[in-house]
Symmetry: C2
Subunit: 212 residues, 2 copies
DNA sequence: GTCTATAAGGTGATAGAC
DNA sequence: GTCTATCACCTTATAGAC
């Protein structure tokens, strides 16, 4: 909430930098704690401790615990949407399915495993969060789903994906393979790049050795 | 807790059928509620209501909320282990990788989506549950992982899985694709069989049309 | 076995001083 | 902006009657 301006002040209007920084600290703390413990098990005291303030001060920045959760979710989903769209847009227009899939998988996994707790919090705990918050997030989720839906549909129409593939089911299976990585993958123990490589391999060619 | 017997009674010792039935009702209610809302958000009153008793009565059957969770988890994991092992054992000794994978995937998905809330509760909320409960469940989980590890290792040694496949990563990606189904698949809206078919297709051959 | 009553402690949220 | 103090409520768990 920026000051409503002070037109006649000699000093340039100070952006409330400190306030913004505190807000960010709260969001960071909330994202990490929600991600690790889930929504219900996380208390405002947990978040306040991690953000180095008192629990009551949270209410200067957010109206309620649900509001804070909603903010974390929004940031997390927006980030993955932006990352995947941006990286895909950078591909040449004639890029193959294999290239497009690989780029999307890499971007998705990087946001999930390296970039931040916001996206992984969203992915991990979404299903066990108050329905009201889920509902508010649906448009953004749908936006992301739409990206993949288009990608896969175009590829199937172009003959790059076999006709027997049910795109609706397959898209969710692919999301599953990727999203589940929050449950086991540790970027400190192995490069995300290698996971992305194996995931791309799975999606495009499976694991079997055979002649198609 | 069965009666400690009454050797001289004319009537055969009555199994505490009513007690066992109540215990089962509690477990069923707990599995469903944990699955839907998560562990922390589920109160003992929620469970008691669904089981049609008072919350205090739960303590006649379980020492604590954690104990109840542990029981639900144990049943859920045991069921999927049994189902997958049993169905796999029924295959002929010379069954191919494709057949073995398909059978395991089908059994896993059926337990997850049709058979009960116990397995899906375990899969869904495991990551956001007290560490003490997670630790108690590890041996059983490891047991199940071992089944897949063996299946994949044998297949790769036999040349049925390409050498470039990292079995550790790939196993977790496959688990992800399957386990994520609890988040979106609805057996009422489409047959589990078809999801299993697509999942098997993904794992064995991916989605791309190309000559290997 | 199941209940009512209650303890002991924590929760999200608000009021108001500074 | 951040704090201390506090409220009203809900939680897990126990005690003891029936």
């Amino acid at each position: 909430m920026p000051k409503t301006s002070a037109v006649l002040a000699k000093e340039p209007v100070r952006q409330p930098a400190k306030s913004a920084a505190t807000r960010r600290k709260i969001l960071d703390a909330a994202a990490r704690t929600f991600r690790d413990k889930g929504y219900a098990a996380t208390t405002l005291n947990d978040i306040a401790d991690a953000a180095e303030i008192r629990a009551a001060s949270l209410y200067y920045y957010f109206r309620s615990k649900e509001d804070l959760l909603d903010a974390v979710f929004g940031i997390g989903m927006q980030r993955v949407v932006d990352a995947v769209r941006q990286r895909s847009a950078a591909l040449p227009a004639n890029a193959t399915l294999a290239q497009r899939i690989q780029v999307a998988i890499e971007a998705h996994l990087e946001m999930l495993l390296q970039q931040g707790d916001y996206t992984s919090a969203n992915i991990r705990i979404f299903g066990q969060v108050p329905k009201s918050v889920q509902r508010k997030q649906l448009p953004l989720r749908e936006d992301y789903a739409e990206f993949w839906r288009e990608l896969l549909e175009k590829a199937q129409k172009a003959g790059e994906i076999r006709a027997e593939v049910d795109l609706g089911i397959m898209r969710m299976l692919i999301f599953g393979a990727l999203n589940w990585c929050t449950e086991w993958a540790d970027p400190k123990k192995g490069p995300v790049r290698e996971i992305a490589r194996q995931a791309t391999m799975l999606v495009l060619d499976g694991i079997a050795r055979r002649k198609k």
